[in-house]
Amino acid sequence: MSSFRHVCIQLIRALLILWGAFTVTFFLLQMMPGDAVMVRFMDPELGLSPEQIEAMRVLYSGSSSPVFQYFHTILRMLHGDFGYSVQLGVPVRTLIEAALPVTLRLAVVGFILSLVWTLLIAIGASLLPARPLRQIFQAIPGFWSAIPLYWSGIFIIQVLSFKLRLLPVVGVGPWEGTILPALAVSLPIAAPQAKLLLQQIEETERLPFVMAIRTKGASQRSVFFRHILPNSVTPCLTMAGISFGELIAGAIVTETIFGLNGLGRLTRDAVSGQDVAVLQAVVMIGATGFVAANLVVDLLIPLINPSLRSSAGWKETSGS
């Protein structure tokens, strides 16, 4: 019963956050200088007069007040209508439908890769025989989080695709085209996860029951895999939920470099063209991803390990 209530509260909270994100971006975007109609139609290639541009503006947005537009936009979005991209001349929905799968593929593959790196780093930092080697592995998260994403992306393309010709970057299938950018995006995502996991492992190692098992003569490896890792992984799940949202932001840079046409590219173009409808939609998708990831983590953690409380989640659950 109380868990049902917990779910309800979390759901309401999620909806409130979405509404808040919508409101904040709506008014931020309203405050921008100029508008998409201007960007689109003041193009000297079209040679339109100021009167004609004004006429276009009235035709596009009407001359209604921001408050009216605010409620109008909310209602429209609830019906799944994201409006029209003035810049590209297509419904935003069409753009999103084309772009979302690209970014989701990038996010999923990048995320899985980042989990792989995280585990490998944790294993290397805990089980490698020589201390200097372990220290190198411990430094990897810090190093990776210091790599500028666009910089590493450029080199990944040059070396893996053009020099070694492992994978083409243009004109490839959707999944093949995802591997290289996912590789680039996985490093900065893995870094904070790995850092947290290493910290947790260190803490778990000091727990009395681990010490007790060790004194019974269990091997380092079996202690690590049977006891330390399972007990350290849960808090990292919360982190993972947050990083998923960061993937969308990372996509802005990655997709620019790799020439993918996902949400990131869409966002970048919409920012420079001040395509408000597109930006609003992108923000809502990002916020939904963030909220959903957190919701899942928040609801899953008690199922996985009831004894642990979320330490980095959005809500400190009162002692269970």
Binding site: R13, L16, I17, L18, G20, A21, V24, T25, L28, L29, M31, M32, P33, A139, G142, F143, S145, A146, I147, P148, L149, Y150, W151, I154, Q158, Q199, E202, G245, E246, I248, A249, G250, I252, V253, T256, T267, R268, V271, Q274, L279, V282, V283, G286, A287, F290, V291, W314, E316
Partner: protein, 271 residues
């Protein structure tokens, strides 16, 4: 309880690296003698050699010189960004943690809303609203980091407040202000500083990203992100134009990161 711990070798190296960059910020002319913005057009796209250690760019400007002067652009701006984030975040987070549950819930809600908007997108929007340029970009990055700070500071202050000895101090009659001044601030200082240093390394990267996307300082400013962005078009013919600014960025971000790591570990070692 604030034991003095001698800095480990890692911190020493990190501080040394940052000191070199500090020198570049304060006295760039001690490290190089060329002009960072005016080149010799005839000597463009020269490979690294004795006269130009890091080569020259498309306008014949010395890449090393530009990196040295670039420290001036990126590093203080990142400091401004972090300060903006810390001050705003500490204010909102601290206020939330110390206020009544209703205020706390409202502020936490706002923090969550801001967290749910992708950081880079928020920064880009703020830059467009305030206009392009290094200072605006720095403030935009600071604002986009505020929510993250606010949440961590809120949780930190709350956990400190629940500590038995602080609870005891409160019950024994220490006033609200006294509690903050004598108990919470000293205890929060170190972890917040460690966090701020970590965030500083992230701010450097975020600022360079804005520069890379063209929202930062205008050309011919030797900003690292801008240098990487310009250099990437020449990658096949002049690899040094992208590689060296990237390495500079990597070095300073990594050094800052290790410093933060060392600082937070010291805290973790305490009982």
């Amino acid at each position: 309880m604030k034991r003095f711990l001698p800095p480990g070798p890692e911190s020493v190296v990190s501080i040394g690296v940052l000191a070199v960059f500090g020198l570049a910020i304060l006295f760039p002319f001690t490290l190089t003698h060329s002009d960072p913005v005016t080149g010799v057009a005839k000597e463009h796209l020269l490979a690294p050699g004795w006269t130009h250690w890091f080569g020259t760019d498309q306008l014949g400007r010395d890449v090393l010189t530009r990196i040295v002067y670039g420290a001036r652009e990126t590093l203080p701006a990142a400091l401004l960004a972090t300060l903006t984030g810390v001050v705003l975040g500490a204010f909102i987070g601290g206020l939330a943690a110390l206020s009544a549950p209703v205020v706390d819930a409202a502020l936490s809600g706002i923090i969550d809303v801001l967290l749910s908007i992708p950081e880079l997108l928020l920064a880009l929007t703020v830059v467009i609203l305030t206009g392009f340029g290094p200072v605006h970009a720095a403030i935009a990055v600071g604002i986009s980091q505020t929510a993250g700070f606010a949440r961590i500071i809120r949780n930190l202050v709350r956990s400190l407040r629940a500590m038995p000895y602080i609870e005891a101090a409160r019950l024994s009659g220490t006033g609200f202000g006294g509690m903050i001044w004598w108990h919470i601030l000293p205890n929060a200082f170190r972890p917040v500083l460690g966090l701020a240093v970590l965030r500083y390394s992230m701010a450097i990267l975020s600022l360079a990203t804005l520069g890379f996307l063209g929202y930062g300082a205008p050309p011919p400013t030797p900003e690292w992100g801008l240098m990487i962005a310009e250099g990437r078009d020449y990658l096949a013919t002049a690899w040094w134009m992208t590689t060296f600014p990237g390495l500079a960025l990597l070095t300073v971000a990594f050094a800052t990161n290790r410093l933060s790591h060392a600082m937070t570990r010291t805290r973790g070692d305490q009982p």
